[in-house]
């Protein structure tokens, strides 16, 4: 297991390198001048030229990329073109908020998806199953932006249960949790729909297996049959898909952060792209790529826990 984990970690290097080359070339070759965007409509050409030179933007792309790469390998992600602040500090300031919301969304997804999937499978074809299927279809179909706005109208404005927007503090603080609840729930609810359907499908297949029939005929309580014997096996494909959903959670979080004015890295990335802040975009994408790879590694390692037959060589 340790060798497997180390090998996967070594693969990080070429993957991250490819990601940074792709992203930096995409943004470099996109139309738009970061200095023009920064200075606005009335900027004089001389001022634009002067600031471009000061920021090193008059140098060829490959020189700028290599300089950035050299610094990044030493832990220096450079300075934001727009704000002249250290990229690493800007990311560290906003990352906890994004991680909190992602973590909350994942917890919500798992807490709700598992029982919903199990209940759906064990009541296949019944009213409960049909209602839960409709529930899943609804959340998968609705655009996240729209759901977020409706949630604010209902839960914040009409019912007054949750605050409308902003961050109230860290996750472990009750006030922080109050502010996190609605955006985290909206971010996680779509995953509930997807994962519960996967669990349902997996459970339906497994509940028809011979060993399940054997367990029942041995007189085991239905709860034990379902949760101990069937669910664990149904989780393997679910965990795989869940790992693939992590990038979707991160990309949807951009929309949720915008609607709820949540001060996370998603919004920071969108702003950086629109303002052509090359160094900030590179830094954030690098961090996101690292997070996705590490989360997928964690998911892979989880297999061995769920199914002891799986050995990572």
């Amino acid at each position: 297991m340790l060798k497997y984990a180390l090998r996967r970690l070594l693969l990080l290097i070429p993957v991250l390198f490819i990601v940074t080359v792709l992203i930096s070339s995409l943004i470099y070759f996109s139309p738009g001048d970061p200095v023009r965007v920064m200075l606005g409509l009335r900027a004089q050409p001389e001022a634009v030229a002067r600031i471009r030179a000061e920021l090193g933007l008059d140098q060829p792309y490959y020189i700028r990329y290599l300089k950035w790469l050299g610094n990044a390998l030493q832990g220096n992600l450079g300075r934001s073109l727009q704000r002249n602040e250290k990229v690493s500090e800007m990311i560290l300031e906003r990352l906890p908020a994004s991680l909190e919301m992602t973590f909350f969304a994942v917890v919500v997804a798992l807490l709700l998806a598992v029982p919903i999937g199990v209940v759906s499978a064990t009541r296949e074809g019944g009213l409960t199953d049909n209602l839960l299927s409709l529930f899943s279809l609804f959340w998968v179909s609705m655009p996240g932006f729209w759901i977020a706005i409706i949630a604010i109208m209902i839960f914040s404005l009409y019912l007054g249960i949750f605050p409308i927007s902003g961050r109230g503090g860290p996750l472990w603080d009750l006030e922080g949790l109050r502010y996190l609840a609605l955006p985290g729930l909206i971010l996680g609810i779509r995953q509930v729909a997807i994962i519960s359907r996967l669990i349902r499908a997996g459970m339906l297949e497994i509940l028809g297996e011979d060993y399940i029939r054997t367990a029942r005929s041995k007189g085991l309580a239905e709860r034990l049959v379902v949760y101990k014997h069937a669910l664990r096996n149904a989780m393997i494909p679910t965990v795989t898909i869940f790992g693939l959903q992590i990038p979707e959670i991160l990309s949807l979080s951009v929309i949720i952060e915008t609607v709820f004015a949540w001060p996370g890295t998603g919004r920071l990335l969108v702003d950086a792209v629109l303002k052509r802040d090359y160094t900030l975009v590179q830094g954030i994408v690098l961090v996101y790529a690292l997070l996705v790879i590490l989360m997928n590694l964690a998911v892979d390692l989880l297999y061995a826990y769920i199914d002891p037959r799986i050995k990572h060589e």
Partner: protein, 540 residues
């Protein structure tokens, strides 16, 4: 992994969680009530370094912390702010300013002549250095006296010095802050100072307790009535309106035309719609064929129903516009609008007739052609709601007249690049947030010296216009300056570089319990200057 084995138990647990989280907290994320005002903005500033940026979000905040030497008053006249007295040489080439005493920067350093020299020289190298190109040298012979030597006589220099681009900054703070200037450090002489910038959340400004030199027309010349002023960033308009109407936010001028009725009719909020200095129009690229022909431009103007565009794009919350500058700016000549009237009236039949006479006939595919070439318009619009909608409404009107319209909605970065390359024929845009001076607005948009900046999006090159604009700035005789300015406006009106659409309004939504909002919004002349002193006039 935690399993909840009983679905009913799960529901009970969830209900309990919602109940606990839904309990009223200790307050919203910001300090509630008392000495704090919370204002909402739709976008976060890029930087607070005015050397680099002059976008609206930056100006709105910086103007409360930084002050220029002079300030434009409600009568549209420039008066002293940090200056006690001034005199100009007979040829208006050498200006001697005597500074007010006793004013300090936020860091306690004295505001003096060396600081003025430092600030002006810094700005001359900055993003808006164009305005200060007229200055040859800045001298500080003593702590109270500043001598400006200009490259040529400029009687209207005070207009330039009243511009935000000439705001005073603390030299010591700039040098000490290094790369942190504009992010963590901003030091000026204004009524509030930067306390904290929480990225993605808010900027917190705190009262400058030593501030007592507010402009003469203000009832409260300082200090500010509230201890803290929070500026929250709420990029989603629906969320911003929700926060305003629920009372979590006290004030915002990011209310869009679409939300006017909602804010106006809500029990918690009031709304003020004030005239602004913004001119909204469709800018025609007068360099590209066939739009370098005045008759074709006139046909284009006649084809667009500006009133319908205003209704659709601005919910009707805007006034008509006749020439490319707003009627609220200082020096506006109403006669120019009268001269423009017959040229800008909506008359689609006249548009078609003019195009026919110019040889552009309707071809088999429904649009006009001449010598095998289609009458094509490459029509660009910013992806901002107002400009996008303007494009969407105007495009079919132009198509009805026989133009072949290719409308593209673009984000600013991409759009700026295309405009700079002159790839547009028509651009849905406007001159927003000007200082409110007619000659400045005309120079920005139509003087050939400004070709190369994005705002010269009409690619307007007319030696007669250049001559008139130079006279209106540099002629020592005020009567001749006024005459030249009027003629420049007439020329702008009759050469039709734009399809005039609207004089946009500033819309302020605020909590009914706030005091002083009417006082500060009664000055319609300049958006920038109005915003600066809201921190002095508004309280709870």
């Amino acid at each position: 992994m935690l399993f909840i084995r009983n679905f009913k138990t799960l529901l009970l647990v969830l209900a309990a969680v919602v109940l606990v989280l839904g309990l009223p907290g200790t307050g919203s994320a910001a300090e509630a009530g008392g000495g704090t005002i919370i204002e909402a903005m739709g976008t976060e500033p890029t930087t607070l370094d005015c050397f680099k940026s002059r976008r609206r979000p930056e100006i709105m905040i910086l103007h409360t912390m930084l002050e220029p030497l002079f300030v434009t008053g409600p009568d549209l006249k420039v008066g002293p702010l940090l200056v006690d007295s001034w005199k100009a040489s007979e040829d208006s080439k050498v200006w001697t300013l005597t500074l007010k005493e006793g004013i300090k920067f936020h860091d306690g350093e004295p505001f003096n002549a060396p600081a003025v020299k430092f600030s002006l020289e810094r700005h001359m190298k900055g993003s808006q250095g164009g305005k200060l190109k007229i200055i040859e040298a800045v001298e500080a012979p003593d702590d109270k006296t500043v001598v400006l030597t200009l490259k040529q006589g400029y009687p209207e220099l005070l207009n330039v010095l009243a511009n935000f681009d000439c705001s005073m900054v603390s030299p010591k703070a700039v040098e000490a802050a290094g790369g942190d200037w504009g992010n963590k450090v901003i030091v000026g002489t204004g009524p509030v100072m930067l306390s904290e910038w929480r990225s993605g959340d808010r900027i917190i400004l705190k009262r400058n307790p030593d501030y007592t030199h507010g402009p003469s027309w203000l009832a409260n010349k300082g200090p500010a009535k509230v201890a803290e002023w929070h500026i929250r960033f709420l990029p989603e308009p629906a969320t911003l309106i929700a926060e305003l109407t629920s009372g979590e936010v006290d004030l915002s001028d990011y209310v869009t035309e679409r939300d006017v009725k909602r804010v106006e009719s809500h029990a918690n909020t009031n709304l003020i719609v004030a005239k602004s200095t913004s001119a909204i129009y469709l800018a025609i690229n007068t360099k590209n064929e066939p739009y370098n022909d005045l008759k074709i431009r006139e046909a284009m103007v006649h084809a667009v129903n500006a009133e319908a565009v205003r209704k659709a794009a601005m919910s009707g919350v805007a006034s008509p516009l006749a020439i490319p500058i707003a009627p609220t700016v200082m020096g506006y000549w109403p006669k120019a609008a009268e001269l423009a009237e017959p040229l800008i009236k909506y008359d689609p039949e006249l548009a078609k007739k003019m195009l026919d006479e110019a040889g552009w006939k309707v071809g088999g595919q429904g649009f006009r052609e001449k010598d095998g070439k289609p009458l094509a318009i490459n029509f660009l619009a910013f992806n901002i709601a107002r400009y996008k909608r303007m494009g969407e409404v105007a495009a079919p009107m132009l198509e009805a007249a026989g133009f072949k319209v290719d409308l593209q909605i673009l984000e600013p970065g991409d759009l700026y690049e295309r405009v700079l390359k002159g790839k547009h024929d028509l651009l849905s845009t406007g001159l927003v947030g000007s200082q409110g001076i007619a000659v400045d607005d005309l120079v920005l948009s139509f003087h050939s010296d400004n070709l190369g900046s994005i705002v010269q999006w009409c690619y307007y090159q007319n030696p007669e216009m250049d001559k008139l604009l130079d006279e209106s700035r540099y002629d020592p005789d005020p009567a001749k300056r006024t005459e030249a300015l009027n003629k420049a406006q007439e020329l702008a009106a009759t050469t039709l570089p734009v399809v005039p659409i609207a004089n946009a309004n500033e819309i302020f939504g605020y909590k009914k319990t706030l005091k002083g909002v009417e006082a500060y919004t009664k000055h319609p002349w300049c958006f920038d200057q109005v915003d600066a002193y809201r921190v002095l006039e508004i309280s709870k």
